[in-house]
Protein backbone atom coordinates (compact mmCIF):
# COMPACT_ATOMS: atom_id res chain seq x y z
CA UNK A 1 0.00 0.00 0.00
CA UNK A 2 1.29 3.47 -0.73
CA UNK A 3 2.93 5.16 2.23
CA UNK A 4 0.93 7.98 3.65
CA UNK A 5 1.56 10.98 1.52
CA UNK A 6 -0.01 14.18 2.60
CA UNK A 7 -3.14 13.39 0.76
CA UNK A 8 -6.09 15.03 2.33
CA UNK A 9 -8.76 13.55 0.20
CA UNK A 10 -8.67 9.89 -0.15
CA UNK A 11 -8.18 9.46 -3.80
CA UNK A 12 -10.82 7.20 -5.11
CA UNK A 13 -8.24 5.64 -7.34
CA UNK A 14 -8.87 1.97 -7.00
CA UNK A 15 -5.57 0.28 -7.44
CA UNK A 16 -6.18 -1.75 -10.49
CA UNK A 17 -5.62 -5.38 -9.87
CA UNK A 18 -2.74 -6.57 -11.97
CA UNK A 19 -4.06 -7.25 -15.43
CA UNK A 20 -4.61 -10.93 -15.96
CA UNK A 21 -1.30 -12.36 -17.04
CA UNK A 22 -1.63 -13.99 -20.42
CA UNK A 23 -5.15 -13.25 -21.55
CA UNK A 24 -5.73 -10.09 -23.49
CA UNK A 25 -8.95 -8.42 -22.38
CA UNK A 26 -11.63 -10.03 -24.46
CA UNK A 27 -13.48 -7.26 -26.19
CA UNK A 28 -16.36 -8.44 -28.29
CA UNK A 29 -17.52 -12.03 -27.99
CA UNK A 30 -14.99 -13.87 -30.11
CA UNK A 31 -16.40 -15.92 -32.94
CA UNK A 32 -16.79 -19.38 -31.52
CA UNK A 33 -13.16 -20.33 -31.64
CA UNK A 34 -12.72 -23.86 -30.43
CA UNK A 35 -11.86 -23.71 -26.79
CA UNK A 36 -9.91 -26.88 -27.37
CA UNK A 37 -7.66 -27.05 -30.40
CA UNK A 38 -8.55 -30.52 -31.60
CA UNK A 39 -6.23 -30.33 -34.58
CA UNK A 40 -3.32 -30.17 -32.18
CA UNK A 41 -4.33 -33.34 -30.36
CA UNK A 42 -2.22 -36.38 -31.14
CA UNK A 43 -4.38 -39.44 -31.31
CA UNK A 44 -2.55 -42.29 -29.62
CA UNK A 45 -4.84 -45.26 -29.45
CA UNK A 46 -3.80 -48.82 -30.11
CA UNK A 47 -5.25 -50.82 -32.98
CA UNK A 48 -7.40 -52.79 -30.55
CA UNK A 49 -8.72 -49.65 -29.00
CA UNK A 50 -9.51 -48.22 -32.40
CA UNK A 51 -11.50 -51.35 -33.16
CA UNK A 52 -13.48 -50.94 -29.97
CA UNK A 53 -14.10 -47.29 -30.62
CA UNK A 54 -15.11 -47.86 -34.21
CA UNK A 55 -17.58 -50.49 -33.13
CA UNK A 56 -19.11 -48.27 -30.46
CA UNK A 57 -19.23 -45.42 -32.92
CA UNK A 58 -21.16 -47.61 -35.30
CA UNK A 59 -23.65 -48.49 -32.58
CA UNK A 60 -24.31 -44.85 -31.89
CA UNK A 61 -24.86 -43.91 -35.51
CA UNK A 62 -28.63 -44.05 -35.78
CA UNK A 63 -28.78 -42.26 -39.10
CA UNK A 64 -26.43 -44.45 -41.08
CA UNK A 65 -24.16 -41.68 -42.31
CA UNK A 66 -21.15 -42.91 -40.33
CA UNK A 67 -21.51 -39.96 -38.02
CA UNK A 68 -22.88 -39.19 -34.61
CA UNK A 69 -24.46 -36.00 -33.37
CA UNK A 70 -22.91 -33.63 -30.88
CA UNK A 71 -25.44 -34.59 -28.23
CA UNK A 72 -24.27 -38.19 -28.40
CA UNK A 73 -20.63 -37.44 -27.78
CA UNK A 74 -20.78 -37.46 -23.99
CA UNK A 75 -22.60 -40.79 -23.94
CA UNK A 76 -20.30 -42.53 -26.36
CA UNK A 77 -17.34 -41.38 -24.31
CA UNK A 78 -18.99 -42.81 -21.22
CA UNK A 79 -19.74 -46.03 -23.04
CA UNK A 80 -16.04 -46.21 -23.80
CA UNK A 81 -15.09 -46.01 -20.15
CA UNK A 82 -14.57 -42.29 -19.69
CA UNK A 83 -16.26 -40.03 -17.17
CA UNK A 84 -16.20 -36.54 -18.64
CA UNK A 85 -18.19 -33.78 -17.02
CA UNK A 86 -20.80 -32.19 -19.27
CA UNK A 87 -18.80 -29.01 -19.02
CA UNK A 88 -15.69 -30.73 -20.38
CA UNK A 89 -17.61 -32.17 -23.29
CA UNK A 90 -19.17 -28.81 -24.09
CA UNK A 91 -15.78 -27.22 -24.11
CA UNK A 92 -14.44 -29.88 -26.45
CA UNK A 93 -17.41 -29.35 -28.74
CA UNK A 94 -16.73 -25.62 -28.77
CA UNK A 95 -19.60 -24.69 -26.47
CA UNK A 96 -22.31 -25.45 -29.00
CA UNK A 97 -25.80 -24.03 -28.99
CA UNK A 98 -28.72 -26.34 -28.29
CA UNK A 99 -29.42 -26.41 -32.00
CA UNK A 100 -25.88 -27.46 -32.78
CA UNK A 101 -25.96 -30.10 -30.09
CA UNK A 102 -28.93 -31.72 -31.72
CA UNK A 103 -27.96 -31.30 -35.35
CA UNK A 104 -24.23 -31.07 -35.83
CA UNK A 105 -22.67 -34.40 -36.66
CA UNK A 106 -19.12 -35.65 -36.62
CA UNK A 107 -17.44 -38.61 -38.18
CA UNK A 108 -15.13 -41.08 -36.52
CA UNK A 109 -11.99 -39.16 -37.42
CA UNK A 110 -13.45 -36.03 -35.88
CA UNK A 111 -14.45 -37.89 -32.77
CA UNK A 112 -11.06 -39.41 -31.99
CA UNK A 113 -9.25 -36.23 -30.94
CA UNK A 114 -12.23 -35.40 -28.75
CA UNK A 115 -11.94 -38.74 -27.01
CA UNK A 116 -8.18 -38.37 -26.75
CA UNK A 117 -8.65 -35.02 -25.05
CA UNK A 118 -10.80 -36.61 -22.39
CA UNK A 119 -8.44 -39.54 -22.00
CA UNK A 120 -5.55 -37.09 -21.56
CA UNK A 121 -7.31 -34.92 -19.01
CA UNK A 122 -4.98 -34.55 -16.04
CA UNK A 123 -7.95 -33.81 -13.82
CA UNK A 124 -9.56 -37.17 -14.38
CA UNK A 125 -11.25 -38.43 -11.28
CA UNK A 126 -9.76 -41.32 -9.39
CA UNK A 127 -11.16 -43.64 -6.76
CA UNK A 128 -9.52 -41.49 -4.11
CA UNK A 129 -10.98 -38.29 -5.54
CA UNK A 130 -14.47 -39.66 -5.37
CA UNK A 131 -14.08 -41.09 -1.91
CA UNK A 132 -12.60 -37.86 -0.61
CA UNK A 133 -15.37 -35.91 -2.24
CA UNK A 134 -17.95 -37.97 -0.41
CA UNK A 135 -16.04 -38.03 2.83
CA UNK A 136 -16.87 -34.35 3.21
CA UNK A 137 -20.40 -35.42 4.04
CA UNK A 138 -19.38 -38.14 6.43
CA UNK A 139 -20.40 -36.28 9.55
CA UNK A 140 -19.55 -39.00 11.98
CA UNK A 141 -16.37 -40.04 10.26
CA UNK A 142 -17.54 -43.61 10.16
CA UNK A 143 -17.36 -44.30 6.46
CA UNK A 144 -21.01 -43.63 5.73
CA UNK A 145 -23.06 -40.74 4.47
CA UNK A 146 -26.78 -40.26 4.79
CA UNK A 147 -28.43 -41.38 1.58
CA UNK A 148 -30.89 -38.54 1.88
CA UNK A 149 -28.13 -35.98 2.16
CA UNK A 150 -26.25 -37.46 -0.75
CA UNK A 151 -29.39 -37.22 -2.84
CA UNK A 152 -29.77 -33.55 -2.01
CA UNK A 153 -26.12 -32.89 -2.83
CA UNK A 154 -26.46 -34.59 -6.18
CA UNK A 155 -29.52 -32.49 -6.96
CA UNK A 156 -28.21 -29.14 -5.83
CA UNK A 157 -24.46 -29.03 -6.43
CA UNK A 158 -22.22 -29.42 -9.43
CA UNK A 159 -23.92 -30.74 -12.54
CA UNK A 160 -27.28 -31.37 -10.96
CA UNK A 161 -28.84 -34.74 -11.41
CA UNK A 162 -32.50 -35.44 -11.76
CA UNK A 163 -34.38 -37.39 -9.17
CA UNK A 164 -34.99 -40.32 -11.49
CA UNK A 165 -31.29 -40.55 -12.27
CA UNK A 166 -30.46 -40.45 -8.59
CA UNK A 167 -33.02 -43.12 -7.78
CA UNK A 168 -31.50 -45.39 -10.39
CA UNK A 169 -28.03 -44.68 -9.09
CA UNK A 170 -28.83 -45.23 -5.43
CA UNK A 171 -30.85 -48.35 -5.89
CA UNK A 172 -29.73 -50.90 -3.37
CA UNK A 173 -27.03 -48.67 -1.94
CA UNK A 174 -28.66 -47.52 1.28
CA UNK A 175 -28.73 -49.75 4.33
CA UNK A 176 -31.70 -50.11 6.64
CA UNK A 177 -30.78 -46.82 8.28
CA UNK A 178 -30.64 -44.97 5.00
CA UNK A 179 -26.84 -44.82 5.14
CA UNK A 180 -24.42 -45.41 2.32
CA UNK A 181 -20.96 -46.85 2.77
CA UNK A 182 -19.30 -44.57 0.29
CA UNK A 183 -16.13 -46.52 -0.33
CA UNK A 184 -18.17 -49.53 -1.31
CA UNK A 185 -20.41 -47.26 -3.32
CA UNK A 186 -17.52 -45.81 -5.28
CA UNK A 187 -16.05 -49.27 -5.87
CA UNK A 188 -19.39 -50.35 -7.25
CA UNK A 189 -19.58 -47.28 -9.47
CA UNK A 190 -16.13 -47.87 -10.84
CA UNK A 191 -16.66 -51.54 -11.49
CA UNK A 192 -18.70 -50.86 -14.60
Amino acid sequence: MAPKKDVKKAEPKKAEPAPAPAAAPEPAPAPKAAAVDLSAVKVEFSADQMDDYKEAFGLFDRVGDSKISFDQVADIMRALGQNPTNKAVNKILGNPSAEEMANKRIDFEGFLPMLQTVVNDPQKGTFDDYVEGLRVFDKEGNGTVMGAELRIVLQTLGEKMKEAEIDALMQGQEDENGCVNYEAFVKHIMSV
Binding site: D48, Y130, M146, G147, V153, G158
Partner: protein, 63 residues
Protein backbone atom coordinates in the same frame (compact mmCIF):
# COMPACT_ATOMS: atom_id res chain seq x y z
CA UNK B 1 -39.13 -26.06 6.72
CA UNK B 2 -40.37 -29.63 6.47
CA UNK B 3 -42.20 -28.92 3.26
CA UNK B 4 -38.83 -28.55 1.60
CA UNK B 5 -38.17 -32.22 2.19
CA UNK B 6 -41.62 -33.61 1.88
CA UNK B 7 -40.63 -36.66 -0.07
CA UNK B 8 -37.73 -38.28 1.61
CA UNK B 9 -36.60 -39.03 5.09
CA UNK B 10 -35.99 -35.84 6.92
CA UNK B 11 -32.42 -34.61 6.84
CA UNK B 12 -31.89 -32.16 9.64
CA UNK B 13 -32.23 -28.53 8.74
CA UNK B 14 -28.62 -28.13 9.71
CA UNK B 15 -27.62 -30.63 7.07
CA UNK B 16 -29.28 -28.54 4.44
CA UNK B 17 -27.60 -25.42 5.68
CA UNK B 18 -24.31 -27.22 5.56
CA UNK B 19 -24.52 -27.86 1.89
CA UNK B 20 -22.03 -25.43 0.38
CA UNK B 21 -24.07 -24.25 -2.58
CA UNK B 22 -21.69 -21.48 -3.53
CA UNK B 23 -18.41 -23.14 -2.78
CA UNK B 24 -16.59 -23.63 -6.09
CA UNK B 25 -14.46 -26.45 -4.69
CA UNK B 26 -17.48 -28.32 -3.44
CA UNK B 27 -19.22 -27.84 -6.76
CA UNK B 28 -16.17 -28.99 -8.63
CA UNK B 29 -15.90 -32.11 -6.46
CA UNK B 30 -19.60 -32.76 -6.91
CA UNK B 31 -19.35 -32.40 -10.68
CA UNK B 32 -16.51 -34.90 -10.75
CA UNK B 33 -18.45 -37.44 -8.76
CA UNK B 34 -21.58 -36.86 -10.79
CA UNK B 35 -19.51 -37.42 -13.94
CA UNK B 36 -18.43 -40.81 -12.62
CA UNK B 37 -22.04 -41.63 -11.79
CA UNK B 38 -23.22 -40.67 -15.24
CA UNK B 39 -20.42 -42.72 -16.78
CA UNK B 40 -21.37 -45.71 -14.69
CA UNK B 41 -25.05 -45.44 -15.51
CA UNK B 42 -24.45 -45.10 -19.23
CA UNK B 43 -22.20 -48.16 -19.24
CA UNK B 44 -24.65 -50.14 -17.14
CA UNK B 45 -27.48 -49.18 -19.45
CA UNK B 46 -25.50 -50.25 -22.49
CA UNK B 47 -24.62 -53.53 -20.88
CA UNK B 48 -28.26 -54.20 -20.13
CA UNK B 49 -29.46 -53.17 -23.54
CA UNK B 50 -26.86 -54.91 -25.60
CA UNK B 51 -25.81 -58.15 -24.05
CA UNK B 52 -23.68 -59.05 -27.00
CA UNK B 53 -20.95 -61.36 -25.93
CA UNK B 54 -18.61 -59.66 -28.35
CA UNK B 55 -18.97 -56.28 -26.77
CA UNK B 56 -18.34 -57.70 -23.32
CA UNK B 57 -15.42 -59.70 -24.53
CA UNK B 58 -13.76 -56.63 -25.93
CA UNK B 59 -14.43 -54.68 -22.77
CA UNK B 60 -12.74 -57.32 -20.70
CA UNK B 61 -9.80 -57.48 -23.03
CA UNK B 62 -9.41 -53.74 -22.96
CA UNK B 63 -8.86 -53.83 -19.21
Amino acid sequence: MDCRNAQRSQPQDEDIMDIPLDDPEANKAAAKIQASFRGHMTRKKMKDEKPREEVHKKQRERK
